[in-house]
């Protein structure tokens, strides 16, 4: 062999890691070069530190906002990591050989938004998927992870890389980036050779895709090196989690089943890939049992047999994850994957979280946190003593700099994001404003725990905003009621994060389908309405909220009539919802007014609904000028005609009286009818009616009550003076007794 050994790998592939170790053992190189940013060689000793636990990630991020990051996640079975660890254990020199992270970040930035032609690398993957009828990951596992000889593996993987390179038509920019990186790697190899390492004793670990490039391309010249763009950046090692590894898709960035691949890695070291199926299935069965289900060993055996038959149909030696899973679903899960979902998540993803020795991490979230603290002039609040901060969210018109003009709004968003992340630095205080919401009050206090919580947030994202977005998304997905989803939405709104808000909205929409309770729907609609109306203040575009608001309103309209068929206990809640909806409709032109008025008319007309609701509907119509004098007169005489039971008549009146009282007081005919109705009631009925009436009048002001009294006086032919005289006079014996009799009266409400 004349040149350096080029060992093509797939990132996060156990077989590649395993074969790589064997190849290293056999080649015994003098220098190991690994695809990874060459300025991060100093991170290597932390990778080999005895306290470090994987998964971990090397993170490089720009020092200036907007923060851009590149992340190299490493699991125990990452070939790159194995190469580094092997070199460390054998005292062989090891270096990273890819572009420095600054150059990589700068290239990444330049490459953003560049259009990619259709036939890019992903397109080739899709084509392969169509041909094989399997997902790319499955195809890879079936074709490569089961090869048992390292030379065969190397040949297969290098061929795959070569063919992929030949078939894919990546965009100009992406191709150029690949070439620049390869030229740089080639230069690093050249430098090593110049330094006296025999070429055949150099061992390069790189993506299989790069192998042909490293073989054929020219090394980078000095001028080219000088011309590389650079971005200011920092790099650190951070703990990673299997969960996060599995939630990121795409080549190199993630791995859908990290725990499963760790099993494969273990199996390769123990008895070969043939052990994996039984290992996986027994674990799956154990996890399924732990979740409270019954699984017999016979079923596990059948699942294994089925998986074997499936892999034979596909022509692979051992079952792959897809076969095992399908086998388990048919034999253990009664044909439904959902039955096994919890156990599968446990077995395939797992909960492993990495660990980095203390003091090593300086993550981009921490960096971002402190930078924002500075920018938003909040540093002085970073003390152990609690301080209060009052914010005025309105734009300051006397300040020219647009950033400064909205300083308080930006502070508010930042603090809300911290709150969402559970970083206990700032706690909101209740608002002291009434009828306005541009003021916010916060209590700020720094604790050592808060620092830890900031580091923990780095597991969720690269910046405070990114982490908050992830946290909101997770919370959104866990929602089970529209109230919860509305709260998430409100948080996203307060954090000023439209994408997260849209996601929460989507969750809300899907939950709203099943939420039948009218009051919940109305409450949620009101919350959304606030956002639509005050979105401006928070610089939030309410457009996506409107359709949902319309939907909720429609849902409420469709269920309202049924909801009105309720007992006296539930009726107040229904009328409250009706009131909310009525106001919503008045506030928003986008809500179907015609439908609403028609509905109010029906509720008001129908005799079989709770009369409180009917009365309220009448009141709403009256208030909106949709009911004329004649209709009101007709309704009053119909609802309050003698013979109508007290709870119905008085209940209706209570509903009617809960709105536009001035107009009611001015209508003498109403009081005459009420008077006639009450006089016609017998003793027991009257007592019942009293409960409703008392409640109806309890909301009236003293002035209104005296106006009513005057009305009644006019009806009864008693003037003000006469009444005063009668009331000021001593109580007669019979009157006192009558009052005493009332003491035991149950007013039902207090």
């Amino acid at each position: 062999m004349d040149g350096p050994v080029l060992f093509g790998v797939r990132h996060l592939s156990p077989a590649a890691a395993f074969q790589l170790e064997r190849a290293l053992e056999e080649c015994r190189p003098q220098l190991v070069l690994v695809e990874g940013p060459s300025d991060l060689n100093d991170q290597m000793h932390w990778l080999c530190h005895p306290e470090t636990r994987f998964p971990a990630a090397i993170l490089a991020y720009t020092s200036e906002p907007p923060v851009r990051t590149i992340l190299y996640p490493l699991a125990v079975y990452s070939p790159e990591l194995r190469a580094v660890l092997w070199a460390h254990a054998h005292g062989v020199e090891c270096r990273f050989m890819d572009l420095p992270s600054g150059a990589m970040l700068a290239l990444e930035e330049a490459g953003e938004d560049r259009e990619e032609p259709e036939e890019n690398t992903e397109w080739v993957y899709r084509q392969l998927e169509q041909r094989t009828g399997e997902e790319h990951d499955t195809f890879w596992e079936r074709s490569f992870e089961q090869l048992e000889d390292w030379r065969a593996f190397q040949a297969a993987v290098n061929t795959f890389g070569e063919q992929l390179r030949r078939t894919a038509r990546d965009g100009k920019f992406r191709t150029a980036k690949t070439l620049v990186r390869e030229a740089y790697m080639k230069r690093v190899i050249g430098e090593a050779v110049e330094a006296g390492v025999p070429p055949e004793r150099i061992f390069c670990v790189c993506g299989a895709f790069h192998v042909p490039g490293l073989r054929e391309n020219q090394p980078m010249t000095d001028e080219e090196l000088a011309a590389l763009p650079r971005a200011d950046c920092t790099a650190t090692l951070m703990p990673y989690s299997y969960y996060r590894l599995s939630s990121r898709s795409g080549y190199g960035a993630g791995n859908r089943a990290p725990a499963y691949f760790e099993l494969l890695w273990d199996a390769l070291h123990q008895g070969g890939p043939g052990d994996l199926p039984s290992l996986y299935l027994t674990r799956l069965a154990a996890a399924h049992r732990k979740a409270g289900n019954l699984v017999s060993s016979a079923e596990v055996i059948e699942a294994l047999r089925l998986a074997r038959a499936l892999c034979a149909l596909r022509g692979s030696r051992y079952p792959v994850l897809a076969d095992l899973r399908d086998g388990a679903v048919a034999a253990m899960g009664h044909g439904n994957f959902s039955e096994l979902a919890v156990a599968a998540a446990d077995t395939e993803i797992g909960t492993k979280v990495g660990f980095i020795p203390e003091g090593v991490s300086r993550t981009s979230v921490q960096e971002d946190f402190y930078r924002q603290l500075r920018e938003l002039r909040l540093e002085k609040y970073r003390g152990m003593e609690q301080q209060q901060l009052d914010l005025d969210l309105r734009e300051r018109l006397n300040v020219k700099d647009p950033k400064a003009a909205l300083l308080d709004l930006r502070r508010s968003r930042f603090l809300h994001r911290l709150r969402v992340l559970g970083i206990r630095f700032a706690a909101p205080l209740p608002s002291r404003q009434q009828g306005a919401n541009w003021g916010e009050y916060w209590a700020l206090r720094w604790t050592p725990e808060a620092e830890i919580e900031v580091v923990e947030a780095s597991l969720l994202g690269d910046t405070v905003e990114g982490a908050a977005a992830f946290a909101l998304k997770e919370r959104g997905e866990a929602c089970s009621s529209i109230a919860q989803a509305a709260a998430v939405f409100q948080d996203a709104f307060l954090c000023g994060m439209p994408a997260a808000a849209r996601h929460a909205l989507k969750v809300l929409q899907s939950l709203a389908v099943d939420a039948a309770a009218l009051t919940d729907v109305a409450d949620t609609a009101v919350r959304l309405s606030l956002v639509v109306r005050y979105g401006d203040l928070h610089r939030f575009d309410p457009a996506p909220v409107v359709p949902l608001l319309q939907q909720l309103f429609l849902r409420a309209c469709l269920t309202l009539e049924d909801a009105c068929r309720c007992d006296a206990k539930a009726a107040p809640a229904v009328t409250a919802a009706m009131d909310q909806l009525n106001r919503l409709q008045l506030d928003h032109d986008c809500l179907d007014g015609e439908r609403w008025l028609e509905l109010l008319g029906r509720v008001s007309d129908r005799d079989d609904l709770n009369t409180l609701c009917s009365g309220f509907a009448m009141a709403a119509l009256l208030e909106r000028g949709e009911a004329d004098e004649a209709l009101l007169a007709r309704e009053i005489s119909r609802r309050l005609s003698p013979g109508v039971p007290a709870e119905l008549g008085a209940g209706w009146f209570e509903g009617l009286a809960s709105k536009n009282r001035c107009a009611l007081i001015a209508r003498l005919s109403l009081w005459r009818h009420l008077d006639d109705y009450l006089s016609a009631l017998d003793e027991g009925q009257f007592r019942r009616a009293l409960v409703f009436l008392r409640r109806a009048f309890s909301g009236f002001t003293p002035a209104e009550k005296s106006d009513i009294a005057e009305n009644l006086g006019e009806i009864w032919g008693v003037n003000r003076e006469q009444a005063a005289e009668a009331l000021m006079g001593e109580l007669t014996q019979s009157e006192q007794e009558a009052l005493k009799g009332l003491e035991d009266f149950d007013f039902d409400d207090i």
Partner: protein, 363 residues
């Protein structure tokens, strides 16, 4: 054979040429008792390139993987249970599997409330039994019995319609793989290749729920409703064409556009979400299966042909749609109304006539 007079031929007769071509071209190992390799069975079901000049038509339009699981189950001589909504081609798939594996799809027991244990095991020709006493000649073997003797596949339709004691009779057969005839002192062992394909309907859940013991003896494959719009459109279009040709409906084929609308509405209400997945919807109590969409279209064609202009109009469709979606429950009416307002109304001018026609029917 006078094939023309038979209303419906079994699969192995209907597709004899394809089966023979596949067998002649066989290259892979064949399991004991099978007529062709599992891979050829897969090709027969899913369709494929010409084999020996014979085109292999697709019999099942749907997930290839599920068919693979079904075939692999039969390879491991486990019993196979196909579960699905009505109209998801369970029996169809079971028939073709048996036809391909054994060249005989006729060993069938139709599960009903009246199915007895004898029909699963064996019964007697009573005249002969009384005349000559118990003898092998007097025995009437069930399809399962015959399948065990010959090492082939027995089919059991709608297993969850059978009473539970009948279902239990299967347990011993499936676990012991032998059947005893105490009257004759016989023990009939199942010959290699014996298996059972059963089907069950998800809508029958709760009628005669299968016991855990019985379920454990099956590998279960759940057949989904067609996975995407294109597949379902294809199925509906082909079937409507076949139906209208056979039944003189005197109406023009409903346009591409109409079929798409019906299938879209069915799919969305069935899945409880719009096709783009952006909006969740209330589901209805009705099944809204592909088969129903087919008959809905055929009915509107019959309506248009007999009483209308011969072209299916929005009004014909609206009435049929409402009938299919709104069964007799309040919940359905609500779901349908919401669907009209939230989805159909906002779909643009193409949907407007249908929306108006549907809206008009609303009280």
């Amino acid at each position: 054979m006078a094939e023309q007079n038979v209303q419906r031929l079994p699969a192995e007769e209907l597709y004899r040429r394809e089966l023979e071509a596949l067998m002649a071209a066989e290259q892979d190992p064949i399991p004991t008792g099978w007529r062709m390799s599992p891979r050829s069975v897969l090709t027969y079901i899913m369709g494929g390139e010409k084999v020996k000049g014979v085109e292999i038509t697709p019999k099942y339009m749907g997930s290839r993987r599920l068919v693979e699981i079904a075939i692999a189950t039969l390879v491991t001589d486990r019993a196979l249970l196909l579960i699905g909504e009505p109209g998801t081609a369970k029996s169809w798939l079971s028939e073709h599997l048996a036809a391909a594996v054994n060249g005989d799809s006729t060993k069938v027991i139709q599960g009903t409330a009246g199915t007895t244990e004898e029909q699963i095991r064996y019964s007697w020709n009573y005249a002969m039994l009384i005349a000559r006493g118990p003898s092998p000649e007097a025995m009437v073997k069930s399809p399962v019995y015959r399948a065990m003797e010959t090492g082939s596949i027995a089919r059991l339709e709608e297993i969850s319609r059978c009473a539970s004691e009948v279902q239990d009779a299967l347990i011993s057969i499936l676990s012991e793989k032998r059947l005893s005839v105490p009257e004759l002192g016989l023990e009939v062992p199942a010959v290699k290749g014996f298996s059972v394909i059963a089907t069950a309907n998800t809508r029958d859940k709760g009628v005669n729920d299968m016991s855990a013991a019985l379920k454990r003896r099956f590998n279960i494959v759940v057949l989904p409703t067609p996975t995407d719009l294109a597949t379902e459109l294809e199925i509906v279009r082909t079937r409507v064409e076949q139906l209208s040709a056979g039944m003189d409906l005197n109406a023009r084929q409903p346009g591409e556009d109409t079929v798409e609308k019906v299938v879209t509405i069915f799919r969305e209400l069935r899945a409880g979400a719009t096709l783009d997945g952006k909006q969740k919807l209330k589901t209805t109590t009705g099944v809204l299966s592909t088969a129903e969409a087919i008959s809905l279209l055929a009915n509107s064609m019959a309506l248009a042909g007999s009483f209308g202009s011969g072209t299916v109009t929005a009004e014909d469709l609206a009435a049929a749609l409402q009938g299919a979606v709104v069964k007799d429950e309040e919940k359905d009416r609500l779901a349908w109304k919401e669907y009209l307002e939230n989805v159909m109304k906002k779909r643009g001018s193409g949907w407007l006539p249908l929306y108006r026609a549907c809206r008009e029917l609303e009280p």
